[in-house]
Symmetry: C3
Subunit: 313 residues, 3 copies
């Protein structure tokens, strides 16, 4: 970088000023830190996991009884390596952030990361079992579905639920950062934002997907169906005596079994409960409980209907 005749003498100044700005604020750089998850490799892990949980739908095609064993072994090996590396990064990231790295330089995270990786992969058959229920729920709930294959191949709601179910396991295991990176990737491609901390029962169906928000402390029962734009959100945040919001308490609703929530309905509050079998109509804004089996809908709004000033074109 001895000469920069093309950009002129400004080049050195630009670099210097930018580096100077790194030094002035620790929040927006990671310089001199050793551990950081790689978002790109975490997305690769999601792709690998989708291939493992829905074999033949994504990635390699033409799976047969003959080539299956070798395919799964190779893919599993690749997945373990990446999982191990990224969970390791996330665990050590947290220790480094808290100043808990060992003074002797030995690695406190490696064995734990391997253990979590293997325990997570052991859970895949059970997760697959739940996903089969989600796929069936989508087929049973959507008259436009031509079959369950279409749902796995194309429905954004199922993709969001799948990534959530995988990320939730890592969240339970206490892996920092990675679960949220996973669900935010799904949010980006599906428009559905499910926090990995939410607890969601079996046979869950989200149709159309865009704009759905399910908060960190939401609890959802079995056989729940919801549509685009539904929010299970927080009502307000209590603050501590220094005016900072308090983290960690239940802020989002509890939804029973067999509940349906139609498009763009908003349900807020950590104490708000929707009883089993409740039906929440489209665009309802709700901050109180609904009894089991009850239906809630907005009163037909008094619409102002204005006849045309001139004949319609």
């Amino acid at each position: 970088m001895a000469c920069q005749p093309y950009y002129g003498e400004k080049f050195g100044e630009l670099v210097e000023d930018l580096i100077g700005s790194y030094r002035s604020d620790p929040r927006t750089h990671r310089i001199g830190k050793r551990f950081m998850p790689s978002r790109n490799e975490i997305i690769e892990i999601i792709q690998n996991l989708l291939e493992l949980v829905y074999p033949g739908f994504f990635g390699r095609q033409g799976l047969t009884e003959q080539n299956l064993q070798e395919h799964v072994e190779n893919l599993m090996e690749e997945t373990i390596e990446k999982l191990h590396r990224q969970i390791h990064n996330c665990l050590c990231y947290e220790r480094e952030a808290h100043g808990e790295m060992r003074p002797d330089g030995t690695d406190p995270c490696d064995q734990k990361a391997l253990r979590i990786s293997l325990e997570f992969l052991e859970r895949l058959p059970e997760i697959r079992d739940m996903l089969a229920g989600d796929v069936q729920a989508a087929y049973d709930g959507d008259p436009a579905a031509t079959g369950t294959d279409e749902i796995i191949l194309a429905y954004p709601g199922l993709l969001a639920i799948t990534v959530y179910r995988l990320a939730h396991e890592l969240h339970i295991q206490g892996v920092p950062l990675m679960p949220r990176i996973m669900t935010e990737w799904a949010h980006s491609v599906t428009g559905t934002d499910i926090h990995p901390g939410a607890r969601i029962g079996r046979n869950f169906f989200i149709d159309h997907a865009t704009g759905v928000v399910i908060g960190e402390t939401a609890i959802i029962g079995d056989n729940v169906k919801m549509y685009q734009g539904v929010t299970l959100g927080a009502l307000s945040f209590p603050k501590d005596e220094r005016g900072r919001i308090i983290r960690g308490h239940k802020r989002h609703p509890t939804v029973g079994n067999h509940v349906t929530i139609y498009a763009n309905a908003t349900v807020l509050g950590g104490n708000t409960r929707l009883g089993d079998g409740a039906i929440i109509g489209g665009s309802v804004f709700l901050t109180r409980d609904v009894e089991p089996g009850h239906q809630v809908s907005i009163s037909p709004p008094v619409l102002k209907v204005r006849p045309p000033e001139k004949p319609a074109e």
Copy 2:
């Protein structure tokens, strides 16, 4: 895969359990099946088609009268090959699913796939003609647009409409899976979910795009304009005597010509009709007809306005 000292003896168990889970549920794997569309190649086809319908905007730049012929020939050849292969996959996928493959092993889908591919590509000039109207409608409808080029390069609504118009042709031809994979790709990148079965007239404009849902049996006239978050959805699903939803009947609204639907309005029901020239205001929730030329808006909601407890910061 003889030794796995690194991951320990668990590795074999993980693979075995996962493969075991594949055997227990036919819904979530495609093992031992021959035909499956490739989502990746279908996305490549969309990219090729965008380059063919908007030459010079996407993909290769610097097109001139001199290099145009060769460029289009090469791109067309590539597109036919991929289209032929993926339509073939989709047609045979369906036959295989229905147990209709020929016992003598000959291929019943190849010629049909080629015929559909060519007929589809023959329709491109007509589709381009419609798209030019959509581009113009966006320019005429959005004061923020600086020109029609910006709309083709950057507007998500136009991208969603373009992919819908392409997918709709394949839907009409009866190609399974592929049209929906195409529109769901567009949904993922634009936030607009248009089912390939919907019927949409000329000069259609969607502004801001995120959260729009247009259902399978919606019918939309010419010169319609809609904004973010608009749903043309279903009211409820009739079920058969066994409690399963009935597929295939008209569930979504009919929208006349010259209709405008503002942001986050919801219009539901297969019998709901918006007459020519109707204007539906923002956030309106509508399950009944609107006469031609009429305007519908929500009554200004009785807002609770609470003055500050303490002076504003």
Copy 3:
């Protein structure tokens, strides 16, 4: 391309008809034009800029005091080259569109493009300073955030704001097309649509991000917080005597300092002002001013609650 036995004689016809359709409409092709921004390279520029403003979070990891200087120099050099090329394309695109290319063939855009590129990059430290405030605002505003790193790595709202702040600088410099391509890329991956022309103060936080629309002429103060689905939109478009919408005047609201706007609220109109400290409740639809410090919420809608016809399942 002498023989096409495979696709039959139709091939030539397909190509001819498609090329014929290019000739019939100038709006949907760029043939014989020299200048066009490359969307792909503009996305690469965004990636480079993210790496420059949040070093160590995206792209290269393991940055240290030792390797930082060389890393930033290399990345800066790469970024200048791409910026220079694309800004050049955009400037000459506009001149070509307006028939303002120099008759002697000399390039009127090159020096200007370089100057704008360097001035833009000079602004990065100041932009970084604003972004640090946005990161902190997200942490202070979201009880689910575990730290500021998670926000930079995963929060779509911060990504949308970051790309907006970068694009806004190029918008101010008068670069055509590129700023909008940048914010529409962010719209695609985050669901938040911020026009590069909007003016937004410090410490801005958007939670959940999907469906947010901030129009071209919106003005937003400092310390503003908003949630998914919020629209700052236009009320209606005045038209000129020939029935064409008038471009360029203020159509979107003005939002004061310390304002909070909850999920799915809609605020419309160029004259609408939300005073300092105002709180706009979820799903509010607003076309009039709110006084400083006042809270506005929808009256609890009269919900129709229908008890179950049969016992809940």
